[in-house]
Symmetry: C2
Subunit: 181 residues, 2 copies
DNA sequence: TTTAACTTTCAATAATTACTGAACGTTTAG
DNA sequence: CTAAACGTTCAGTAATTATTGAAAGTTAAA
């Protein structure tokens, strides 16, 4: 398992980015490695390619499974497990978004709702509640939107993109249509 | 500077979330604190409220300024600096997105483009390039979309949301319109 | 110019997070 | 049943990241 410089480059970059997307460097590299390899890899191949311990691979795979980002393959007559990305790039990105929504946005919305319903007993708390309401509304909007986007295939998205660069135009379209009907 | 339990709760939560949005726990708390306070705060007030050192506040503010998330106020006859959020909630969210795009997505796009243009000298590299192309396309789409969304006011967004829950419908609308004309 | 009131910096250290590798668990072939 | 081939766990340790606090920098009033 020797990576070509080009591929190694990509894998290292995934490592750097991985930490920003919710997992750590090593796990980012693992995703990168699995994604640029056409065929599933064994835990030992991963350990060797990334120069990390076997135990670390096991922990990383476990974490990736909790994100639903990898699936396991088996080859008849072979006891090893072979790991591969669980879906297309688009699927993986969706899963990361979805998981982060669950872990970050949902708990925040819950907290905000609780606080907003509670009665404010000072002007400071009143202001605080107003701000929390803004955050709440923003998060809810973003959540709904991302749910919408996730339903689209990449092709539909591309098509939407080509509409003419401006979402405002979509709004205008909507308005026109609604007036006609 | 004594926080009411309700407000403290929110601030602590911002701390937890802060780390996920690109900064660390303390800096997350600082943002939370500034956002739920109607009036600008001095560095000492922040240090006292969050029970951290004065030096840490200074570093945190510096970091937040690099994200363009805080602005400085001055009161005539007072040499202290007063810090406040740099815009509405929506503005702040936009700035975070924008900054993360610059720090994460743009460098990734550059790397991917380089790799894709380079000639593949093995079937593995060929496949790798195809995958990189997918990632590239996805990131570009997401980038363009977020740029579009950022142009909208929260009100426009809300309006778009109310369109009827499904973006696919917008695409259908578009198709119908284009066929008619 | 001195002093007081502030801010910034950064080396030392604390806190957190990630990794290793040995021990243990499980499955299957012989 | 035993050994080999694999996967998992976790205590100990390494690496990284965050924080403190003392020293140095800045500004303005006296």
């Amino acid at each position: 398992m020797n990576l070509s410089p080009k591929i190694e480059n990509f894998v290292l970059h995934c490592g750097e980015m991985g930490s920003r997307w919710g997992f750590n460097r090593t796990i980012g590299q693992m995703v990168g490695l699995l994604v640029i390899n056409e065929h599933p890899l064994t835990a030992n191949q991963i350990a060797e390619a990334l120069k990390i311990s076997r135990g670390n691979v096991s922990m990383g795979i476990k974490e990736l499974q909790s994100w639903q980002l990898v699936k396991v393959h088996h080859i008849p007559g072979d006891r090893k497990e072979y790991y591969a990305p669980n879906g297309t790039i688009w699927d993986l990105a969706n899963k990361v978004f979805e998981e982060r929504r669950k872990r970050e946005i949902d708990p925040t919305l819950t907290l905000l709702r609780d606080q907003i319903l509670d009665t404010a007993n000072s002007p400071e708390e009143k202001y605080a509640q107003e701000q929390m309401q803004s955050i709440h509304d923003l998060l809810e909007t973003v959540t709904k939107w991302s749910a919408e986007l996730q339903r689209l295939t990449p092709e539909q998205l591309q098509s939407l993109m080509k509409l003419g660069s401006s979402v405002s135009k979509v709004i205008d379209l909507k308005d026109k249509l609604l007036k006609k009907s």
